[in-house]
Symmetry: C2
């Protein structure tokens, strides 16, 4: 993986680090590995970016700059609000490893400001007033972000050892749940479908007051 004579720049270091972080996760990013990949001594990295912490700062800065502005689409308030939540989900799925880093660095408000503003604006346009607006903004925001975080978790985690299906086969009757529902819960589910369903329900309830 050693690139012989290409001059190493700060940008190149950040590029390489970003690649490792996105592909293998933050824990796999070691200064020595990075140096090896760039074909320089470990200490050269330190000259360019300071240290590991500062390197992660630089990653985060770049990712936040890339975060696209949110543009609501649709004609009804419900559709427009759901479209914001959907955009939030898409943005987070495209930046899997960075969210935690952003948060550690205290830049979460900055990152989610566009989405918050869009939600608030739509909710006011839909007629919501007073303290209910901020409450509704946060409810939708937490719902969307929390959902995606869990969704990513489930994707990344290894196969579950007692399968959901196995568990539901054993416990269905004792739990007072019908066979049909027990079977459904034992099967894998499509996150986008659940996200759409839950978001739509939440938005509708929030608009109804």
């Amino acid at each position: 993986m050693v690139r012989p004579s290409t001059p190493v720049t700060r940008e190149a270091v950040i590029d390489a680090a970003l690649r490792i972080v996105e592909q293998e996760g933050v824990r796999q990013l070691s200064m020595r590995k990075l140096a090896a990949e760039l074909g320089v001594a470990v200490t050269a990295i330190y000259w360019h970016v300071g240290n590991r912490e500062a390197l992660l700062d630089a990653l985060v800065e770049r990712e936040i700059a890339d975060a696209t502005r949110i543009r609501p689409s649709g004609r009804t308030p419900e559709a427009r609000l759901v479209s914001i939540a959907r955009a939030l989900r898409t943005m987070l799925l495209a930046r899997p490893h960075v969210i935690a880093l952003v948060n550690e660095r205290g830049l979460t408000p900055l990152m989610f400001l566009p989405a918050q503003a869009a939600l608030a604006s739509e909710l006011e346009a839909a007629g919501l007033k007073g303290e209910r607006v901020a409450l509704a903004v946060r409810a939708i925001q937490y719902h969307a972000i929390g959902f995606v975080v869990l969704e990513r978790w489930t994707e990344r985690s290894p196969e579950q050892r007692p399968t959901a299906a196995e568990l539901w086969r054993e416990h269905a009757l004792a739990a007072g749940v019908s066979p049909r529902v027990a079977r459904d819960l034992g099967e894998p589910f499509a996150p986008p479908q659940v996200f759409e369903f839950a978001t739509r329900a939440l938005v509708r309830a929030v608009l109804a007051g």
Copy 2:
């Protein structure tokens, strides 16, 4: 922190590890620190628990065994469903560091089975049928767990550098949001209140179909 002559048992190792994990986080759990705390050589730990990974397995096993069964309370379906979500939140807040470990070890279905069963049972009792039941179970489950994960994140993260208040002071007008709402969004919020509001809204919408 050296306990001189007390015999070190497997249980004592797990106890000490659990204390470190809950107080300082998983990353701070090092075999050497653990050994120092117990007053033995590092390698003694290995005799008792195998290795670091196996030690974390043991932690998780104990925590799952401690996870209390969920007992819905309240008279209306809405109240009972909200009470399950609330119990889920309480359980997770009491076990901050363990959720990620449980998930890495593939034991998530096992941990959340009681809550899933309780939700499914209540939703069927409320008259929901067919595929909508499993969909609703997952919507509520993801909502509750996702919310708490974010809530913990926000608590643990350092002070945010551009304050939400500062950001909202600058951007309020450009974003098309009223001064009142901008001020509200610039202030810190009470997670339990938002959780209650969002959960109630979601549950109501799910029950309405």
